[in-house]
């Protein structure tokens, strides 16, 4: 049946009136224009109430306001095609090689989503271990001061113009010179050879005398390879091999190999030095000598070891120390090693004579054509005078900064600015580049291909880990193009290796790829002839050294472990990493013995509001004012000043972190409005002595100025106040006598017991001796961590920790630890999760006080003062992940809790910032976000999180903490999680060694081990059960998951 029902909307529709028909198809019944509407008289009779008006106004205002709020747009560029090897959230590692003219290391670069964020040692047959500088250098890639393209006369230009201009002058007449630091790249050397430029090399830190001495005595042009892993007795005369001396990246690991007390054998290190160096602080016997006396130490040593020559005149104490050193050397024979730091031909020749006499050449020191440090400062000096005389037409400079670090930089800069054709390939407009007509900026090494060769038997490769951030070009390629060839650098590097090497060559793609993957390729070499000692110049060297005179005050220039020769001045993390010995950040200063400080009436204690005294140091007529740091172990009558500071002295834009900032975060400026650099540049005080640069000045004057200058120290108390439950140490013979003692029984690592009022021993009597170990006491319920699942833990061997601070920077970068600047560090607000406590020994103790009848109060006061030449302990300190953590119980909101894997976890989101946890931490390892470091103006000029480019270095796995929350070491929980995930995917238990914290990974001496204490096969468990293992502050019963290993010094037993 058809539906006949019909619905209508009104009578009009039913009747189908005309009016209905006209409006039927219209949306609105009646069209009315706006004019009509507004002029409609009826409107006037309508009424809009006050309330309606306010409503409309309110709505309108709100709508307008909301419309004005624009959601911030964060632009990100997605991959159009995702690279095959990049998975978001998964890190890629690439093998590469770091070389900055001084440090040479095979590295693995960790990249995330195409950004390099972390550098670690390539431990598989890699050369060297990263130190703090190499580790932190990843930041320099993102330095916003890097040039974004070539420049001509300070104006932005393009490569075609630059190439045309430079090629043109290179084809012209006249002498054309290429000045570099030591070039170790075979490809670069090939490009230089092709270019026809005259190649002159110098090194920022000159080691020319070492090569010259090797040439004179052994007939080889090689830098010595010191094989500390073979050396049973080491004597170093001012060579800071654990800190900054020469090939330091490899010495630490080698030294540590001979510092394993468990092996029953330890090397003994005697140090004779002026400044307290890292090596001296780790030496078994340390003697303070002035720079002018160092040569006499060498001659005395030679005389005592061989009976040859005249022994230099020394103090009685030094003589005794030399005799002890000689005795050890003679006992060690060919396993003895003498090193000297002075860049002095006579010194090196005498040292060679001693090593040769010991039979050490070939065992502990060898000359196998190590390529480092080929530079010649005399060549640079000659070049400077040639430039001045107008004898050089074109000067191209690559990988060097002579206007800053040349021995006579001022003369060089002056000559440079008068020249017509000057080219720098520096990636920033540094001291040298800003004086050059053309800047052709080179890639950062993380962006570039390259090859390097440090020893004859291997070629190391550099591979890019990120596309070039700026319009830059490797300087090798620039050279190639300027000499007319049209080849890119990658092709050029590959072609270098296409034919040169016969075995395992890299001319096939497969072989090349393998080499790039490994980061190096071995090269077959025929073993060279054993060298023989000629000894021609020894006697002359002896008389030269013995005749050396010193003035009232001598100056020893040195390099800081953190700053080197100044290449990293713009690196905020390195500036903030405290010097391992002074614990000062963001400055260089004069180190002076306490006795001298007192004699001059200067401030002997640097604290938060106790600034250092400024002194005027005058060297050969030039003066500078520097603050004085009272340094235990500084030879009296000497001062030390670190090189590598005062970069950007003319306001060159080398990077924001290189300049001082004030309390409000803006740059400090001098009277001309130029920004004030961090520290003072003392390169002008290096002396040219013969063909070599000498880093000592034998007669300087120091005058008090009466002014003060604040220094920012992370640690102001120098001694450990006899608190032996924090630092345990012993000497090797005591250790050896009880090496088989059960854990907790040896006299040097006794378990701490607490007296209880009960009969513990079961002898029916209650007496005070019946103590119970602290583990027997429990206030809280035991966390079920023992033998349940994982229990992450760490061991730190104080015997092999050198204090080098590689772990500090590694932790800093891995965990996005904020950089807070000098003013905040001075206020004791450094944020380091991992710090290295440096304790100097004191002459005084409560026992001595009791013997001498001194009051306890006075004894404690005296215990605050370190000895004049103290023994030193470097103690890495981070969250101890206590199983009975005092911080956990006091947090009102349970923001810090214990994981069932033994970790003390910090939940930033939950933290309300009462800081009770930090107060209640016996180790004081918790760090509070006093400000919004990633946003507050005070930190704008150095905090990486505030720089749009440098922010790229932040680890995406770790939160950047905001203001008002507590933070601390997490044992790299992000690494633990990813290790567990990998194991889960593989369906296996977490293999030992697959999870490593950043600090343990960075430790060059393997002092730090990390792993699962519940894993019976784990290395860390075995170490924690060793009889040297102890918990710091065991008696307070917090049950840490971090174990320290008693420090064993190999001192003479009667000196212990």
């Amino acid at each position: 049946m058809a539906n006949t029902k019909r619905y209508w909307s009104g009578l009009d529709e039913l009747r189908e009136t005309e009016a209905f028909k006209t409006i039927q198809g219209q949306e609105f019944p009646e069209a009315q224009s706006v004019d009509e509407f507004l002029t409609d008289e009826r409107l006037e009779s309508t009424h809009t109430g006050r309330r309606d008006f306010l409503k409309f106004m309110g709505f309108g205002l709100t709508a307008a306001t909301l419309a004005a709020c624009e959601t911030p747009v964060v632009k990100s560029i997605p991959y159009t095609n995702k690279p095959e090897e990049v998975t978001p959230g998964v890190a890629n590692h690439y093998a590469s090689t770091y070389y900055d003219g001084h440090d040479y290391v095979n590295v693995l670069v960790k990249t995330r989503e195409g950004r390099p964020i972390f550098i670690k040692s390539n431990t598989e047959t890699g050369y060297g271990r990263v130190n703090a500088r190499v580790n932190a250098s990843v930041i320099s890639l993102y330095d916003s001061a890097r040039l974004d393209g070539p420049q001509i006369a300070g104006e932005a230009s393009d490569w075609a113009t630059v190439d045309a201009a430079v090629s043109n002058v290179m084809q012209g007449e006249g002498r054309k010179v290429l000045l570099t630091n030591t070039v170790l790249s075979p490809s670069a050397l090939r490009a230089i050879a092709q270019s026809g430029l005259e190649h002159i090399q110098y090194d920022a830190i000159d080691y020319g005398a070492f090569r010259a001495a090797a040439q004179a005595d052994f007939g080889v042009n090689s830098f010595p390879s010191y094989r500390l892993e073979e050396a049973e007795a080491v004597v170093t005369i001012g060579a800071d091999f654990l800190g900054s001396f020469a090939d330091n990246v490899i010495y630490g690991e080698r030294w540590a190999a001979m510092r394993k007390p468990e092996s029953g054998k330890m090397s003994r290190v005697h140090a004779f030095e002026t400044n307290m160096s890292l090596t001296g602080s780790n030496a078994d016997q340390r003697t303070m000598v002035k720079p002018s006396e160092q040569g006499r130490v060498a001659t005395a040593l030679l005389a005592m070891v061989t009976g040859q020559g005249t022994a230099g005149q020394l103090s009685e104490e030094a003589n005794k120390a030399v005799a002890a050193a000689a005795k050890d050397l003679k006992r060690a024979g060919s396993k003895g090693l003498v090193m000297a730091g002075a860049n002095d031909l006579a010194m090196q020749q005498v040292v060679n004579a001693i090593n040769a006499a010991l039979g050490a050449v070939g065992t502990t020191v060898s000359y196998d054509e190590m390529t480092l440090f080929q530079g010649s400062s005399s060549a640079l000096k000659q070049l400077t005078s040639d430039m001045k005389a107008g004898a050089v037409e074109v000067l191209i400079m690559a990988d060097c900064n002579p206007a800053y670090d040349a021995p006579d930089a001022a003369a060089f800069a002056e000559a440079l600015s008068t020249m017509k054709h000057t080219v720098s390939t520096s990636s920033v407009a540094d001291e040298t580049a800003s004086l050059c007509k053309v800047i052709a900026p080179t890639h950062h090494w993380l962006e570039s291909w390259g090859d390097l060769q440090i020893e004859a038997d291997r070629i190391d490769l550099v591979q890019p880990t990120i596309s070039p951030l700026h319009n830059t070009r490797p300087w090798g390629e620039s050279l190639v193009r300027w000499s007319g060839a049209n080849q890119d650098w990658y092709t050029f590097v590959r072609s270098t290796h296409a034919s040169d090497y016969t075995s395992d060559a890299m001319y096939t793609n497969a072989a090349w790829n393998k080499a790039v993957h490994n980061g190096f390729v071995g090269v077959d070499v025929t073993p060279g002839q054993a060298v023989t000692f000629a000894g021609v110049g020894t006697s002359q060297a002896i008389s030269e050294l013995n005749g050396r005179k010193g003035g009232a005050v001598e100056l020893a220039l040195y390099q800081k472990t953190t700053m080197g020769a100044g290449q990293h001045a713009a690196n905020p993390m390195l500036q903030e990493t405290p010097d391992p010995l002074t614990k000062v950040t963001w400055d260089n200063y004069v180190t002076m013995a306490h006795a001298d400080v007192d004699a001059m009436g200067l401030n002997g204690f640097i604290g938060q509001e106790k600034p250092a005294s400024l002194v005027k140091v005058t060297v050969a007529g030039s003066s500078m004012e520097l603050p004085v740091f009272p340094m235990p172990g500084q030879a009296p009558g000497t001062i030390g000043i670190a090189l590598g500071y005062g970069r950007g002295g003319n306001g060159e834009n080398i990077g924001k972190a290189a300049f001082q900032t004030g309390e409000n975060g803006s740059f400090e400026t001098d009277s001309d409005g130029k920004p004030t650099p961090v520290g003072k540049n003392v390169f002008p005080w290096t002396a040219q002595s013969g063909d070599f640069t000498d880093y000592a000045q034998y007669d300087v004057t120091v005058e008090a100025t009466g002014e003060t200058y604040p220094l920012a120290c992370t640690q102001i108390q120098n001694t450990f106040m006899g608190r032996e439950s924090i630092v345990k140490e012993t000497d090797f013979s005591s250790y050896f006598a009880e090496r088989d003692a059960k854990k907790g029984k040896a006299s040097w690592n006794e378990l701490i017991t607490l007296a209880v009022h009960e009969d513990v021993t079961g002898d029916g009597e209650i007496d005070a001796q019946d103590g119970k170990p602290t583990s027997a006491f429990d206030l809280w319920h035991e966390h079920p961590v023992e033998e349940v699942g994982h229990r992450w833990g760490m061991t730190i061997d104080l015997t092999s920790c050198t204090g080098c601070s590689a772990c500090v920077t590694a932790c800093h970068i891995e965990n996005n630890v904020p950089v807070v600047g000098k003013d905040e560090v001075r206020r004791h607000r450094d944020m380091h999760w991992m710090r290295i406590d440096r304790f100097f020994a004191s002459d005084y103790s409560l026992e001595r006080g009791e013997e001498e009848g001194t009051s306890v109060i006075a004894s404690y006061r005296k215990m605050e003062d370190p000895s004049a030449n103290p023994q030193t302990v470097h103690m890495p300190m981070m969250c101890q992940h206590c199983n009975h953590a005092p911080c956990e119980t006091v947090c009102p909101v349970a923001a810090t809790t214990h994981s069932n894997e033994g970790l003390n976890q910090m939940t930033y989101n939950r933290c309300i910032g009462t800081r009770y946890c930090a107060n209640n931490c016996p180790y004081k390892v918790r760090r509070f976000n006093w400000f919004n470091y990633p946003g507050y103006k005070k930190f704008a000029n150095f905090n990486p999180a505030q720089d749009s480019l440098m922010r790229m270095v932040l680890n995406p796995d770790v939160t950047v903490r905001s203001r008002g929350v507590m933070e601390k070491c997490s044992m790299c929980v992000q690494r633990i999680q990813s290790g567990k995930l990998d194991a889960k995917k593989a369906g296996t238990p977490v293999p030992d060694g697959s999870v490593v914290t950043a600090c343990a990974e960075a430790c060059p001496t393997h002092a730090i081990s990390f792993g699962d204490l519940n894993d019976k096969s784990a290395g860390v468990r075995a170490i924690s059960e060793n009889n040297r293992a102890y918990h710091a502050l065991e008696e307070i019963g917090v049950k840490p998951n971090i174990f320290y290993m008693t420090k064993v010094r190999n001192v003479e037993p009667n000196q212990a």
Binding site: F720, R723, I726, R827, R915, Y916, R963, V1038
Partner: protein, 459 residues
């Protein structure tokens, strides 16, 4: 009617009738503000505004504007907190404990002492709030049901106990104080002629009519509240002391703290009462109600509590030596001989030596000496907290982290600012509130009034 021995000093001097009492108390409220009051409230509110400015700057910028650091995580903030809480002790003690012990002399002072308590606790409560790194999430310390998952507060933490202790103490004190005010507000209401003021006081007096039933309930509630408040007097500062006592830090980890803190709090509270009342009695001409005898009574409390505090100091020192614990003994040696020994000796002088002067009757009954010493005691008690907090943590277990604390201008500004806010509030109280419990006072007029006592003697 209750009779009192003639030998007892009268508590109300002069020839006072019930009406006189009402006039004396309500008169200043009805009249215009005296010029002295105007000057004082101007000064104190300027300081208060400056303090609020400092607090806002602190909240806007971060805790870093204070001088705290990685070693010293608490200093002036918690010092001020404990100091103010301590001051806030006297009021409830006077009104509750003395009520239970039927001490009539409390009636002249309890109202202002309680007001002082309320204001001091408000000042104290500022500090735990602003010392937090993230004050905007401070409500997380309350055990509120939430949608963050299973998140809950940590009942092990003494800071949480603090939250409960302070909030309970504050609310009970406030209620107690207000209950006492109701009949007095009614009196004011009845005498007010200005309609607005009459309306306000009418609202404040909750319809009090003065019926016997009302008085009966009033007495009962007061007694019940006194019963509740009395344990709180002891619990609050005991719990505050546990902020320190339950830690592992030498110098904090001390079982003596609860009684030591409570007596210290009463000590400082009474000193502050003296400071305030000696000014107020002069300014508001209340010499007949608050006179030497009252001051003397309070000074006796100060001697007793001050001596307990002194004994506690010495006990601490002895135990630190007797314990044989290296860290403990060093903490105390450092206290009296280290970098902050000046603070320790200020504390010792002000808290241990100065109250002993009150053994001399002349000093005890001298208003000038009392005023001076009351300020000395409060300085001493501020330093006590500073010494406990800063000297303990600035050198604790690990010498590598030993440090210093230096206050910044903001540290000082916030503290001075709370003094400004406190005095502003107190001056407001003195102007608009019945500063004496006038209706209660009337109950003792016939037993302890000077004129009635004399009349009795003559009979």
């Amino acid at each position: 009617m209750q009779r009192e021995a003639a030998i007892r000093e009268p508590l109300i001097l002069g020839d006072k009738s019930y009406k006189d009492i009402t006039d004396d108390v309500v008169g200043p409220i009805q009249g215009d503000a005296p010029i002295g009051w105007k000057i004082m409230i101007t000064i104190s509110s300027i300081i208060a505004v400056y303090g609020v400015g400092c607090i806002l700057y602190l909240l806007g910028t971060g805790i870093g504007v204070w001088g705290l650091n990685k070693t010293v995580g608490w200093a002036w903030d918690i010092t001020n907190f404990v100091w103010w809480v301590g001051i806030g002790h006297a009021g409830t003690l006077i009104s509750a404990v003395l009520l239970l012990f039927r001490q009539k002399w409390r009636m002249a002072i309890n109202r202002s002492a309680e007001a002082m308590t309320i204001f001091a606790v408000i000042m104290a409560a500022i500090f735990p709030g602003i010392h937090m790194g993230r004050i905007w999430v401070s409500y997380w310390v309350l055990p509120l049901p939430n949608q963050f998952g299973s998140l809950w507060v940590n009942f092990n933490s003494p800071l949480l106990w603090d939250v409960f202790a302070i909030s309970t103490y504050f609310s009970v004190s406030l209620v107690f104080w207000y209950i006492g005010l109701i009949p007095d507000f009614a009196t004011i209401r009845d005498r007010m002629t200005k309609p607005f003021a009459k309306k306000v006081y009418g609202l404040l007096s909750f319809g009090w009519s003065g019926r016997a039933k009302h008085w009966n309930r009033f007495e009962e509630v007061s007694l019940v509240l006194a019963g509740i408040a009395t344990p709180l007097v002891f619990s609050v500062h005991s719990i505050v002391s546990m902020d320190f006592a339950t830690s592992v830090i030498p110098g904090w980890h001390t079982t003596i703290f609860p009684p030591y803190f409570v007596s210290g709090a009463v000590f400082s509270g009474f000193a502050m009462v003296q400071t305030l009342l000696l000014i107020m009695r002069k300014g508001m001409k209340l010499e007949n109600y608050i006179h030497v005898k009252h001051v003397e009574y309070m000074n006796i409390v100060i001697i007793v509590t001050g001596s307990i505090v002194g004994v506690a100091y010495l006990t601490e020192l002895f135990i630190s030596w007797y314990s044989g614990v290296e860290y403990e003994s060093y903490a105390f040696i450092n206290r009296f001989s280290g970098p902050y020994s000046w603070a320790y000796w200020i504390m010792m002088t002000c808290n241990v030596i100065s109250p002993q002067l009150f053994w001399f009757k002349k000093i005890r009954r001298s208003l000038v000496a009392t005023f001076a010493l009351s300020i000395v005691v409060n300085i001493g008690m501020w330093f006590e907290r500073y010494v406990i907090i800063v000297t303990s943590i600035h050198r604790d277990y690990d010498p590598s982290s030993w440090g210093e604390f230096h206050p910044t201008n903001i540290d000082i500004g916030v503290f001075i600012g709370t003094l400004g806010i406190f005095f502003t509030l107190f001056l407001g109280f003195a102007r608009f509130f019945p500063v004496l419990a006038l209706n209660e006072l009337k109950t003792i007029l016939k037993s302890s009034g000077e004129n009635y006592k004399k009349a009795q003697e003559n009979n």
